[in-house]
């Protein structure tokens, strides 16, 4: 497989493809083109699997502006001091060299669905037979009054990993003694349901060592949240008295910020804060809206191959997709990408297509070696991707079980990034 198979089979394979599968799409005009927008969890996986399974019968182009992708998953562990930023960075070298993927470091700025081309910020356009969108999230304008992206230095979101994460950590580490870290948590649905609460745990872990009289305030528009019982038990156990959460009953949904004054107004009451981590409401990445495949904030897809409900030549993966029951996670995006890749290669080359099956598991770290997890399996239905059952760690597990769970998360990280980036 990989490079040698590609170079050995050469152009003869395209001919064989045409002969043996005359009904196959794209065969009429030579090797079909798959274009993937976004080289994150969903896009990198889709590109890799399509290139691997499609061999010489499919051209794959991956459009991604950054040369190093920093994973959001485990970025909270960086804040907690358990990972370095470098360990979260992944480049596209293997996808290009071993899988023959045409990696284009540029922004996609428009999709012409009639001409089937993608316009690039740097000029020029790329034609496609199949377009896969996995552009992640953007923020809903005006979701938190007083905040917009121009305020992200004063009040970081750190919900796209990299410099934002570094900035937030630096602010936490240099916070005045006894100061207040405030998180404005997002409403559903958003990327990584346990993410904000794992973040609070990791911030608390740092503050407990460097600034033990500091306070953490969570302003939350949601009644409840993912793994709530596990987090709350852990916070009580490890960070007793440090963390306060204001839910919607006490004004958590009625919040305004002033980045210049560093204040947060909760139900009319002004609070001075020292670090303010605003995680606004989210929507599909901008290019999905520009491509006209969204309805409201997200891009609706059917459940069998993540095909856009607006355009059969487009698939939408990961956070941007409105697919049903799967949480917006890197694991989900990776799982969806593999199902989509199998269907796309099947359609383009006539190879076998197997029944879709999806799963997700999300680990979170509460404190040193205190790991918890939640997961579920999913199956496609006519209506949506539907959950068929799952599990969650239990409260009161032994320290050994928690340490084991944390170890598993380390194994998972290594496995999934090599499943994405090769």
């Amino acid at each position: 497989m990989k490079i040698n198979r590609r170079s050995f089979i050469g152009s003869a394979a395209a001919g064989v493809g045409v002969m043996s599968a005359p009904m196959v799409m794209g065969a009429a005009h030579g090797t079909p083109n798959v274009v993937v927008i976004g080289g994150g969890a969903g896009g990198a996986t889709a590109a890799r699997y399509i290139a691997r399974d499609g061999g010489d019968q499919v051209n794959v182009t991956l459009i991604e502006p950054t040369r190093t992708y920093y994973t959001c998953f485990f970025s909270n562990l960086y804040i907690g001091g358990f990972r370095t930023m470098e360990s979260l960075g992944h480049s596209y070298g293997t996808l290009a060299s071993e899988y023959g993927i045409n990696v284009v470091h540029d922004w996609a700025v428009g999709v012409d669905r009639d001409a089937k081309t993608v316009a690039l910020a740097g000029g020029g356009s790329v034609p496609y037979d199949k377009l896969i969108l996995s552009p992640g999230i953007d923020f809903v304008d005006g979701a938190v009054p007083g905040w917009d992206v121009s305020a992200q230095n004063a009040m970081p979101h750190a919900y796209k990993a990299g410099s934002q994460t570094e900035l937030l950590k630096a602010q936490v580490m240099s916070m005045r003694e006894g100061g207040t870290y405030c998180m404005v948590a997002p409403p559903n649905p958003y990327r990584c349901p346990p993410g904000p609460y794992e973040r609070v745990s990791m911030v608390a872990h740092q503050l407990k060592q460097t600034n033990p009289t500091a306070k953490i305030l969570i302003v939350d528009p949601k009644e409840g949240f993912s793994k709530q019982g596990l987090f709350e038990q852990g916070w009580e156990r490890h960070y007793s008295g440090m963390i306060e959460r204001i839910g919607p009953d006490f004004g958590g949904a009625n919040v305004e910020v002033d980045p210049a004054a560093m204040t947060v107004t909760i139900d009319g009451v002004v609070e001075n804060v020292d670090v303010c981590n605003v995680i606004p409401a989210q929507r599909a990445g901008k290019i999905a809206h520009d491509a006209g495949v969204t309805d409201g904030n997200w891009a609706p897809v059917e459940a069998f191959a993540l095909t856009s409900k607006m355009d059969p030549a487009i698939h939408v993966l990961g956070d941007s997709a409105a697919q049903g029951d799967m949480p917006k996670s890197g694991f989900s995006a990776n799982s969806q990408a593999k199902v989509c890749a199998n269907a796309v290669v099947g359609e383009l080359t006539g190879s076998r297509v197997f029944p879709a099956r999806f799963s997700n598991t999300c680990w979170s770290l509460i404190d040193t070696e205190d790991g918890v997890k939640v997961g579920a399996a999913y199956e496609p239905t006519e209506e949506k991707i539907a959950s068929t059952g799952g599990f969650v760690s239990q409260t009161d597990e032994t320290a050994e079980v928690r340490a084991q769970t944390y170890q598993e998360s380390l194994g998972w990280y290594d496995a999934i990034v090599s499943d994405m980036f090769g």
Binding site: S335, K338, A377, T398, E400, S409, G411, D414, I416, S418
Partner: protein, 219 residues
Amino acid sequence: MRLALVTGLFGFIPAMAIAQPMGDPEAGEQLYRACATCHEIGEGARNRAGPHLTGIVGRAAGAIEGFRYSSAIGASGLVWDVDMLSRYIEDPQGTMPGTRMAYRGMADSQQRSDLIAYLASFEAEEVAIPFELSPEAAAVLAVAPDMAYGEYLSAECTACHAAGDAGIPKIEGLDPELFVTAMVEYRSGERTHQVMEMVSGRLGDEEIASLAVFFQKAQ
């Protein structure tokens, strides 16, 4: 009757059935002084007041030939995994009422983790032990595998199982008999693990058979 090469003396313990202990073996070496009066450990260790502890992590309880155990240990039928060891060391009498081990217990969970990490650093020698394939596993192994299907299904597994072995066991190259045995044990709940029970719970015999052959060859 077949032979499988596994660590441990009695009973079949698939390679990763035993949770890896998390702790500092060097700190554990100091703590082991509390045990050394009664237990030897390491190459050539002999029984003293207590049985030798070489290879104890993953060893069946009461397994050392020639040592007279209490029935609390000898007839317990359990395997010393990390969790069980920790509980026994924390409170021997409370955990295994009637045990003859006259040791008070170790309250600190970090210390227990360190101590277990030290115990785990002495592996039992590999021995060939007889292992009977269960009828369920044999039935799966009798199904004709579908390699292409196995490859497709394997994509779910590679989100967690990598070529390395840190945190989650490596399954590439695993012997199909061990692979299938593990999967049917997770599926029946005989071997417990939240993730693997869920994963195996939705795999039929053909799917497990195809995965087993795919992973055996994938290396």
